[in-house]
Amino acid sequence: MTHIESLPAWAALLTALFVLIGASLTLLGAIGTLRFHRFFERVHAPTLGTSWGTGAIVISSMIFFTVLQSRPVFHEILIGAFITVTTPVTLMLLARAALYRDRAEGREDVPPHPAALRRKASSGGED
């Protein structure tokens, strides 16, 4: 039940443009995950896919089905909303686990826990 031929050219172009933007951003995010070297750098790359990567594909889907069915179709917004709300959960779990690991290993490139800093300051800097 696809009527792509009944889609006007402007809508087809807009849909294609947004799909292309979204797909490219998601692909760049995947490449970034591969290219970056440290965990905390890698964590940034997939957010390309979860922000405007998703956003652009959602927009193109809304344009496509709104024009095709000649009535406003907005339920794709929910996809974007739920992805935005749930991404921080996994990200924080991963980031805090990595932070805990690095602190436990005593690595110098991660900041110490703020409470530990405060303890250090109140004990006069001797540690």
């Binding site: 490219s24 951003l25 760049l28 995010g29 490449i31 970034g32 290219r35 440290r38 905390f40 750098e41 964590v43 940034h44 790359a45 957010t47 390309l48 979860t50 922000s51 405007w52 990567g53 956003g55 907005f74 339920h75 917004i77 929910l78 935005t84 709300v85 991404t87 921080p88 990200l91 924080m92 980031a95 805090r96 932070l99 991660v110 900041p111 826990h113 703020p114 409470a115 800093l117 405060r118």
Partner: protein, 161 residues
């Protein structure tokens, strides 16, 4: 009001979600309203903290700012990925002392910081009220503190507290 609709915001969101997924008709409005009422009453046993929106009319402004910032940082991170190792880039942590205490506002800030490529929410300590974020392209540490505090936190403070 409190008895019938313990969480008006949640009920409204559920109703909107129901109508988005089905259709904007009177029948679905009634059905969706009934379902969201039952669902919010089930929610009372969890006793979630109630967000207090003091100035909700600022929300569209915040949404517009955030959408634009996310678009900009998408392009910035995409460029970094494409440039590869040709450019020297320093990434690092930034500690930001927050004044924001409202849990909903903090959750919203977490969504903003996380959805923006190039910044990642790492840790928030409730005792010291210090937020730790990781920035992919760290040029100016104070600039980031200013950005989070002036651009997002001040608006969130106005909306929620």
């Amino acid at each position: 009001m409190n008895r019938v609709l313990p969480y008006p915001l949640l009920a409204a969101s559920l109703l909107i979600m129901w109508m988005l997924l089905n259709a904007f008709t009177l029948g679905h409005f009634v059905l969706g309203a009934a379902i969201s009422m039952i669902a919010t009453h089930a929610m009372t046993s969890l006793q979630p903290s109630k967000p207090r929106l003091r100035r909700w009319q600022l929300l569209p402004r915040l949404a517009a700012i955030v959408m634009l910032d996310i678009l900009r940082s998408n392009l910035a991170v995409a460029t970094i990925v494409l440039q590869g190792r040709r450019r020297e880039r320093v990434s690092g942590f930034v500690a930001i002392p927050l004044e924001l205490r409202d849990r909903t506002a903090l959750a919203l800030l977490a969504c903003i910081v996380t959805s923006t490529p190039g910044t990642a929410w790492v840790e928030y300590d409730t005792d010291t009220e210090i937020l730790l974020i990781h920035v992919l392209d760290l040029i100016d540490e104070d600039g980031w503190i200013e950005l989070i505090k002036n651009r997002y936190e001040s608006l969130l403070l106005e909306i929620f507290e």
